[in-house]
Amino acid sequence: MLLPFSYAVRNLYRDRTRLAQTLGGSALVVFLVMGAHALNEGMRKTLSASGSPRNMLILGKGSEESMQRSEVSEQAAGITEASVSGIYAPLGDRAVSPQIIHMANLGLPDGTRIRGLVRGVTAKALLTHPEVTVMEGHFPGPGEIMAGRLAWKRFGIDEGDLVPGTELRFDSATLTLSGIFAAPGTVLESELWMNLNDLRTLAQRETVSAVVVRLDEGDPADVQLFTRQRLDLELSAVTEQSYYARLATFYAPVRAMTWTTAALIAAAAVFGGLNTLYAAFASRVREIATLQAIGFRRTAILISFIQESLMTSLFGTLLGALAAVLLLADRVIYLSAGAFRLGFGPETLFAGLLAGTLLGLVGSIPPAIRCLKPSLPQALRD
């Protein structure tokens, strides 16, 4: 027979300092677990959404892992367009987009320097990246530049610093911000896009970084075959999806570090919580012995301890989850590959709930066993 539930509930208020410590510990663990999970989910989702399975990236041989390092001959785009079949071609316009990826230093009118990824493109980039929509202003022409809607966050400046009409300094040139674009859930949103020829001149390049090809009926293997046949161009072709998947692998240590940090802080919180529960349960040894003397079994008392601990940890979970949602949801994290919006979803909430439940369950058992261990006569005398 179980002890009354009210016993577990009222025990929570016996020592408010202990209650606050346990609640705080549980909330911290849940907050960290949810934060780590959301960061990982955000990175995974953003990187997987950034690569389309229909897009092929033609890169310089040996630079398959970095578009920035890649160099592709200027003629490669035209030759690809002419040689590969099955390219997506709305209204006959074939989706083959030469692009330059360049890390640039830009100056704002107030003198602030910002450093970020600039993509030199032609209008065909909109065919290969249909997820890109110009929200405000227009696609950049010569002397113009367009900003992703999260770029201002990426640069740590005010949103008002990047509005159409703003003039940006790029070396000796002045570029006018022509518009703002969106590319929901992809790393493109933290980039700046500008005219391909302008960037080629400013970056002093004679080559492009990559040629992006969007396939319709075509087989990715055909593009790969093309790059293998044209040995003179020294090309390599990968699907955009696999490129970003590889980028995700590059960030595996970052993800592992997030989990490790969360685990270490959580472990400290668990030990703190265990210590608090040891003290809380140990102060009740004689009371517990009395309940046993009356006839309650150890299992009933153990269940009551677990109820008590679970209530605290679940309430802590609620606080931690609330804090995580309020402080972290929609937060954008910036890494060199781009901006990642923390991915809060049902799985993140589940991870937090699981952590809180495990904390309540596992955290209460060792102190409870220790409290139930002394023999009954000894515990009554205690």
Partner: protein, 231 residues
């Protein structure tokens, strides 16, 4: 010589030993004892004489190293821990020197605890708890927490808790040890009433000769042996 049916507790050659560091301690040594039904027995003796050990053995809180203890025909020395817990719930009511009430439960809830081990309806439990609290004169304090009661009132709640499931045996370990004289007298009077009017068998450990005087019989223990029985 008592008739066997009149004997509630029978101890035969009961020995209790335990290790304390390197030493083997024998608080009870081959003790024989019969306690008749309805008896109000006081056990006295110096500290370490084995009084509390004997009380724990008689009430199934502890088990002997050797020998046998039968209570109402049940050989409790041979019961498993689980069976012993169930036996205690039905057969024994405990009264401790420091009351041992659960501080987060009200007087009513404390008294109700033993009844939770039975398959009783809420209404039945309420009636029994109210009757027990009324018997100890605390009907007006049933929703008070232990911290809101005096020592004497706490002990009366503990007695109500011991009584509520109607066990034939009540064991009391220094029940007046922490009370002033007036409260102690009230508690002893209550125990006498329970023995006389409800036929409860009461075994009480005490250091206080006045408390022992309230019992119908006093046993003296020294070094784990019974010295004498005084009626």
């Amino acid at each position: 010589m008592e008739n066997d049916q009149d004997i509630l507790i029978r101890c035969l050659s009961v020995t209790k030993q335990y290790k304390k560091g390197e030493n083997l301690v024998t608080p009870l040594d081959t003790l024989d004892l019969d306690i008749p039904r309805g008896d109000f027995l006081a056990m006295m003796g110096p500290s370490g004489s084995g009084k509390t050990t004997l009380l724990n053995l008689l009430s199934g809180i502890d088990q002997p190293t050797s020998g046998s203890i039968e209570v109402d025909g049940v050989a409790i020395h041979a019961l498993s821990r689980r069976a012993l817990a169930a036996w205690r719930a039905r057969q024994v009511g405990y009264i401790f020197q420091l009351y041992h009430l659960v501080p987060v439960l009200t007087a009513f809830e404390n008294v109700e605890l033993p009844l939770l081990l039975d398959d009783l309806k809420r209404r039945e439990r309420r009636e029994k708890v109210e009757a027990a609290l009324s018997l100890v004169g605390l009907s007006d304090r049933m929703h008070h927490f232990p911290r809101e009661l005096s020592g004497g009132q706490e002990q009366r709640v503990a007695i109500a808790r011991a009584l509520v499931a109607d066990p034939p045996l009540l064991v009391a370990d220094e029940p007046t040890g922490d009370l002033d004289r007036e409260s102690a007298d009230a508690i002893l009077g209550l125990l006498q009433t329970l023995s006389r009017e409800q036929g409860k068998t009461i075994v009480m450990v005490t250091h206080d000769p006045k408390a022992a005087g309230a019992a119908s019989r006093t046993l003296h223990l020294e070094k784990g042996q019974l010295l004498e029985a005084v009626s």
